[in-house]
Every structure is written in C-alpha cells, then in structure tokens.
Symmetry: C3
Subunit: 397 residues, 3 copies
C-alpha cells in the first residue's frame, strides 16, 4: 500500500465533508477531524509529488491572490499550491486596478471572481479590518454565485488576517507532528509562545494568536509570554483556554521570557506590535492619516526598544528542555548580528535551527493545497486514490 | 441536443470565416454575421464551462496583455478568457521593461510575441493615439510573421482604445439579448446613452462611442445626450447613423438627459470627458507636459461640475418606460452617497440594479474568449462539437 | 525522417549528460559538445512547435524569475520558454516581498523554490555582484535540496550576470550558424565586437564578454575594439585567448572601430560602461550611496560623449566585407535619428538589418527552453523522439 493510499484510508475515517465548498477563515471554526483532514491531504499531496504523480485536478481555473501587505513565502506558497492543482494565479494588484476609482469591495469581489476557484487574501495590519474585509468579500461572492453571476463559488483561503494566520500555524503544526513522530507525541509538550524584540516594524498579532488558538487543541502545555502592553486579542485567549480545557492541555500566561522557556520542548519567540498601537493604527488608517501612522510606527519601535532583553539568546535557550527545545519561527526573523544589531534571536541559535526552520516553511504550500483540495473536491478519498493510480506524471521524462 | 450543439448548428449557418486570423479593432469592422458568431461562441463556451467540460484548446501559448491605463474587470476578464482556452497571460508592464530605454513599438511588438497567440491592449486616454498604437503594433507583428521571426501571427483583442471598447459593448449587448429574451426583441427598444456627472477623472469616450456604434445595428432607437462641449467623435456618429438606417432603427441626439430618458427601455448614463479637453490632453501628452495634463484635469473637472444635474436619480428613472428601464453601466460607477457626494447615479438606483449590472459584466470574459476562439480556430463549429463531446473535464473530481 | 528525428540522432552522438541537473552560469563552463547539445535541442523544440507538436514535459511546476534590472525580451523569452515546456512563471518582485524586511539570499532562495524546477536570474549591473548572487542562491538551493526541504533541485538559467550573458550570446551564435548555413562555415570569419557610443545609460559588460568568450570557440577571427578605459574583465579576455588557441581561431584587440570593421563578416557594435566606472558603481552600491551612483552616471555619460565617432554609420559599414557584414545587436539599440540624435548605429543601417536582428532575438526563447530541457530531462534523445511522435498538439483545432 502506498503512503497516499494509507492516508486516504485515514481520511475516510474522518468527518470532514463540511470543508467542501466552505471558506477557511480561522482554525477554531473547524473541528478536530477537519484539521486532521487538512494535515492528511497535505501529506498525501506531498507524497504524490515526491513520487512524480500528477496532482492536477483542474484543467483550467484561476486562483486569485490579494496581498494587502508584503509577502514572499506566503505569496510563493499560494502560487505553488495553485499550480500543483492546475490553477493559474492571478494577482489583484490594487495599485493597477480601478479600485482607486472608488469601487466597493462587493463589486471587486464579483469582478475578479468570474472564473475563480480560490481566493487567497492577506490583510493583517489593521485590527478589526482584515477579517472584516475577507468576510465582506466572501459574502459578496456568495450573492454573486446565488444570482448566477458567477459560474462557481470560489472558496477562501485566509493567507493572514488580523486575527489568525491559519496556513502558517497549520504548517507549523504539521512540522511538529512530523518532528515528534506523530500527533500522539505532542500531548503534554511545553510550548513557549513568546514576544521577542524587533527593531524593524510593528508586526501583526495573527501568528501568536493563531498559535495559541491551534496548539492548545493537541493537549500541549501552551505558555504565552509578553511584556506589559503587548496583549493579544482577549477573544483569542478565551478560545485558547477553552481548547486547552477540551483537549486535556493547558494554556497560561507568564510575564517573562525566561519563565516561558523554562523546560520548554518548543519555543516560538517572535515580535508583534503593542495592542494599543495596533488599535491606534487602525484608527489612523480609517482616518487616512498616513503621517500619524508613520509617527506611531516610530513611537511603537521606541516602546519595543525598552524590551531588548526579550531575545532568544543562547543563554535563554539553555533554560529549555536539555537546552534543546525545537525553535520555531514564521520567518523572516530579525537576527541579532545578521540582519540587525539586536533582534529576536541570536545568529548562532538561528543558524543551528536553519534546516528545521526551512522544513517548517516547506509545509505551507501543501497545507494551502490541501485546504483548496478539500474545499473543491466532493469526494477527496476517491480523488486521492485516483491520483495515486493515475498514469499522468508531473514531469514526463 | 445540448445547448452547445444547438449553438454550433446556428454558427454553421453564419458567414464568419473572415474572423479567422484577423484582429478585433472595432465592432463596425465586422459584419452582422461575425458579431452573431462572437455572441454564439460566447454562449457556447459558457454552456461548456457550466457543464464542467474542458474548453482548453491550447496546450501551451501566451496571451500578452498591455494595459496603458488602470483596469480591474477587463484585466481579469482577459486573464479568465485566456485561461479558459489554455493560454497563460504574460503582462507587459512598461515600467519594468526596457521600453524606457527608447525601443520602438515595432520592436516591442516582435520581442514579446515570439510565442504569443493573442495580444490584448488597452490604450484609451489620448484621442488619436490608442487605435494608432494598436495598428502600429499589429502591423509590426504582421511583418514579423511574414519574415519568419514569429512562428505564429498573434491576433489582437482591443481591450479599449480611444475610439471603441468592443469587449465591453459586446458584453453589454449579449446581456441585452439574454435580458430581453432574444435579439429579435430588441427591435424598436429605446436606449438612452447619456452623459452623467463624475467628480473623479476625465473618462474616455470609447464606451459611448462603442455603444452608439454597436446598438444601432439591432434596429433599436438609440438616443445620445450630453451637455454642450461633450460631443463624441463625429466619425462614430456617422457610423451610428449609417447603422441605424441599415438596420431599420434610429439614431438621434437630444440635449437633455430628461428627454433621452423619456420612455426609454434601457438607460446607460455614464461620464466622459469633454472632447476639446481630450484633444488638448493628447497635445500635452505628445509634448510630454505632465503639469499641463494635471492642470487640464482640474479644469475639466470644474467643467464637469457645471452639469451635476446630469445624474441618474430616482426622479430621472421615473421618466423611463413604466419607471423600469434596464440600467446599464460599464463599472465602476460614481455612486452618489456611496463613492462620492454627487455622481453618475443615485445609490438606491444602483443598488436596485446591482444583480443585472454584475450579470452584464459577467459576459465579458466569454466575449473575449469567443473573439480569441474565432480568430484562432479554423473550424469553430467542429471545435465546439468536439469540446461538447470530449471526456476531458474542467475540474476532474 | 523529421527534422527533430535528425536532430535527436545528432544529439545522441554528443557527450552532454553533464548538463543534467546542472546550472548554466557561463558558456565557458560547458564543453563544445554541451553547447552543441543546447543548439540542437533549441532547433528541435522550434521544429516541434512549428509542426504544432506539444512540447509540454511538465504537467505542473514553477519557473521562478528574478529580474534585478529592467528587461523586456529576456523576460518574455524566459516566460515563453517556461510556458513551452509546461512551467508557470512566478516572478519574484523584490519590492512586493519581505526581502525589504531583511531576509538573506539563502532564505529567499529556499522560500521561493519549494515547487520550482527552474530559476532564471538577471543581475548584471554591479561588477562582482551578479554572479556572486546567483552562486549564493544556488548554493542555498543545494543545501535545501540535500536537507529534504525542497522536493526537487531547481536548475539555474543565468539571464545575464556581470560576467556573461549566455542566453543572449547562444542565441546570437545560433543565428550565425543558421545565417551562414552551418557551424562549419564560421571558421575564419572575422567578427568585430566593438564599443559604440550611447547617450542613454552605463550598460553592462556582459554582452561583449559573453561574445568574446563564446565566439572564439568556433575558429572565428574575433576582434575586440573599444576606446581607452572601456576594457572588459581581463579574466574573460584570457578565456577568449585560450578558446581561440584551442579552436584554431584568433582573438585580438585593436584600438579603433574602423580597424575592427575592416573586412569584417560580422559586426557587433554596442555600448558598455567604462570598467572603472562599473567598479566605482559597485563600491557606491555596496555603500548604499544612490546620490553617488546618480552623479557617477552623469560623469560616465560625459565620458561616453567623448567617443561619439564610435558609431556604426553607413560609412563605417562600407569598410566591412563587400560593405555587407552581418550586423548584430542584443537590442534595444540607441539608433541615431530614431531614438537619439547620436547613438550606436545609423537609422538606415539599423532598418536594413531589422529582419535579421529580430530573427537573432527569436532564438532566445528556444535557447532558454533547451537549457531547461537538458538540465531537467535525463534522456533528452528519447524525450525528443517521444515528443516528435506524440499525438498531443500544441493547438488542438
């Protein structure tokens, strides 16, 4: 039996049919079985590709991407996922569009979706805006499909909003599952999700939020740490607490990086902006006050600079389990001694973990492809088996 | 018999072979049978896609797009059409090219066309320039093909020039055909193509020109209205008059929006720039006088502002046939109360017609695909029948 | 026997297996047989396409392009080559990426390559940087592949570095081979690779370097001429001298354009920047001194302007063999009387050679496709024969 056949058999035992024709906003919208289905299909697609089997399920069709913030790895992961399934990426560059001429989100959503099977959106910088934008967009697409304007109802893959970063955190988790030899080995593992100092810019909260919202579902001991004023959204902390209770895990907050790292199996030290600053930025953005946003950014970086001791140094790493916790980062990191004089992580720590870090990132294209696959394919078990036995090769010679 | 088979049978009765290997500049270059062929193939491609049949006629090949003005819907419509047929879009972004280094249109045309099957160009802002650019481009491509430089002679789809906007107006017309239950029901219908106030920018004349140049071929009563100084190109008015005479329809001009709307079955209220301003802008553009262009834009908007009463208000709509004329717009519209304080149309009117408006837009990808199909496929009847019976699906599972 | 079958038979006699899974940095890294293999596959792919045979060897996969300098023809040639083989181009636009946030080349290389089969890079402006960048990039990809991060090891096509421009010079050479009726007719032909005046900008040295490094391998009499101070890299001159000695050809330098043109069979008059300026520019670039770079550009153009007599005028052309040397240029050229008042070539000369010039350019997509094909296909002879006999067509109807 091939690995894909085994995975298809596992998938057959999961209740995941509600992923079909649905959007992927947040991991906590999905059941455990549904998340398991995404991991399973991601592994199967990777197995098929490694064996040079074609995974092209679309003969034509578009994957629309909308990046309202810079991106390298998510952009290329989305493009890779679409290409793997046979969709062509068409990027909506708002600067080249008539959106400047005042059209509504509702209108844009329909105008770009005539032949779209998937919509991938990143909109992460403004608290209360990113998710709202995606929701408005997909509601409009719903209306368009119901009214017969769109031939098909494209499904959303959230490529990072203000609340969650599901493709990142699911890739992180699949990395953990493989690193520790199976999801069953994650129970009780201590994860330190901690703030770290960055001199570069005020980063979104969606990664720490996504991590506590997802990792707490696997019976892990999830510890969140940050300096005063860097709280994440309280709604997401509640999600994390409820998850932990349900999964037999733990979710707690501590006030120093050292405490969080103490005995940790996994550390995820990463910068984000102070919550109040994010809210203020949203206010300024709504008011169109770019000068205000720029001034706020300076102020926020000054606030960050009061916490330069929040850094994943060699000394800090020694506190973790046997000094050998698995280091995670969504990349790019601010690396002390390489990309900046003081940042999130010491260069020597980063270098030591480079291979696992890049492996962590390498799951993202497959996670995205699996999300698309499960939203678009009515019988994913049969589809995987058909692809497994197909004579079509990805590379012909 | 499937719908596509019926449409193929209809196509077989049309004399449309002159579309093969030809460019699509203006609708009035084409015969009635040729326009009918485009509508027929557009409907067939839509039927095939709705039935999940693959419409991929190219295994590889490029569709080159050149947008010399901003675009959302035409950009995505062109990308959708190319993708539907198996072509990959490659956009010529003049900012990233060596065109800044002084190469000629003739050279660019050949350099981007080595593996191009289709060229889509938008160049609409400067009277006397857009069409000229397309002509020069395609003449160069002709020479290149004759000289054996190009393996194939790509065909042009005019994505909006200074004279016509054929993909828009053909989509508008296909919408009317379906809305009114067949082309035979359009005879005698009154259409009001009228200027409307816009505070946003000096818009091209190609939509009103394209509309009067096309709609007059279907026996309709086409009325053009605009404030003094907002004339369209006299050559196109002559085309419209001649068309009307030939089709048993009517073409006339009136001087108020109210008169145009009176008893109308269809209204198309839309802003465009004063003709003299467009000519002056062309002169300034040729002289490279950007400051002059900017000053002119302000002056032009001030002139527009003298005609704020030219707006598609609820009151104005009551004048139309039973107060229920079909409202058309090429989008995006300047919507009073939504995107501006005073614009082309009241928000309540726009909202009421939103579904038909988006349906109108949804024909454009299929119109473009049909233009490509008929220019590229020697025996389109046989090709449609083959696609109809093919075992290849667009989405495999 | 088809032309492709003949070419496959020729290919079978060449020792070219070392092209498989290797990068293409410089032509002088490759053996004569390997270069012959590239020409042979390029001709075969062109023959297959002319006969409407599909040459799609990839069902999915990405071709990543990175243009660190403007480009039209190389950009479209790379896109055409990828599309011809079934790869989708994904351009890394560094402005839209997080590279601004400080990530390393090593990281970017892995992050964009998860599903990449080919990487095409242009980085030509800074002496000592372009090749270095490509090398660092591909070393990182090697590490990623070895560590199981990447599923496949993408291969590099150098789309122009600071040292060589192999896709250009190989296309130039294939043009010569066909123009003169076979590689055996090139022996003894005199080629004048000369500097020419340009008012536009300080152009890279990679074309003259690539030409002398490649053309000297075919027994030609290669003459390099430039004003004082416009030397090319001495390492490349040494390569050229060694090549000439090995091929029974000649490589020499003369100090005037007239002397170089005297009795030449082929002329390649083209501007490049003074070597010292290129080195200074690299220094300023490393220091991030944009004002210094701009000032240097002015100084460099002033230096250029002292040599306006270095131009391919009609008078200069009369010195060549029977006044009819074949004129080459990589395009775009600075054309006196067309794109500037004084430039590299008279308008009348340029116009007379326009068809062969565009033909010269038309080989580039096939050269790039052949480089990809030979780096990606283990048994290219068998693959060409299979494509030749395949029932799949490029355009179906």
């Amino acid at each position: 039996m091939t690995k894909t056949q085994q995975l298809a058999r596992h998938l057959a035992g999961l209740k995941a049919e509600n992923l079909y024709r649905r959007d992927f906003f947040w991991t906590w919208d999905k059941t455990g079985d549904e998340l398991d289905a995404v991991f399973t299909v991601a592994d199967a697609l990777r197995d098929l590709r490694q064996r040079n089997q074609s995974t092209r399920i679309f003969d034509s069709g578009l994957g629309i991407s909308i990046f309202r913030d810079n991106s390298t790895r998510t952009r290329f992961s989305f493009a890779s996922a679409c290409n793997l399934l046979g969709l062509e990426v068409q990027d909506l560059d708002e600067k080249k569009s008539q959106i400047a001429h005042g059209e509504t989100v509702r209108e844009t959503a329909n105008m770009v979706s005539f032949m779209a099977d998937v919509i991938g959106i990143r909109d992460d910088m403004f608290i209360g805006h990113g998710h709202e934008y995606m929701k408005t967009f997909m509601d409009a697409v719903d209306e368009g499909y119901s009214a017969g304007i769109l031939e098909q109802r494209p499904t959303l893959v959230n490529l990072q909003c203000d609340v969650d970063h599901p493709t990142q955190c699911m890739a992180d988790m699949l990395h953990l599952i493989h690193h520790f030899g199976g999801v069953e080995h994650l129970k009780g593992k201590k994860v330190a999700m901690t703030w770290a100092y960055s001199p570069s810019y005020g980063k979104p909260l969606s990664v720490p939020q996504g991590v506590i919202g997802l990792f707490t579902r696997f019976g892990m001991d999830v510890v969140l740490a940050h300096p005063q004023g860097y709280d994440v959204m309280p709604e997401v902390e509640q999600v994390a607490a409820a998850n932990a209770a349900a999964s037999g895990g733990r979710f707690r907050k501590v006030s120093t990086m050292a405490e969080a790292f103490e005995g940790a199996d996994i550390v995820y030290p990463k910068s984000w902006a102070p919550f109040a600053a994010m809210e203020e930025r949203t206010r300024l953005y709504t008011a169109g006050d770019q000068a205000g946003i720029d001034a706020l950014e300076q102020q926020l970086l000054a606030q960050n600079a009061q916490h330069k001791d929040w850094t994943c140094s060699e000394e800090m790493m020694t506190r973790t389990r046997e000094g050998k916790a698995l280091y995670l980062h969504c990349l790019p990191a601010d690396i002390t001694g390489l990309s900046c004089t003081a940042g999130e992580v010491d260069e020597s720590v980063f270098q030591r973990y480079m291979v696992p870090l890049y492996q962590q990132a390498s799951y993202k294209p497959y996670i995205i492809a699996a999300m698309i696959f499960l939203a678009q394919v009515q019988d994913p078990v049969q589809a995987l088996l058909a692809l497994d036995g197909d004579s079509r090769l990805r590379k012909q010679f």
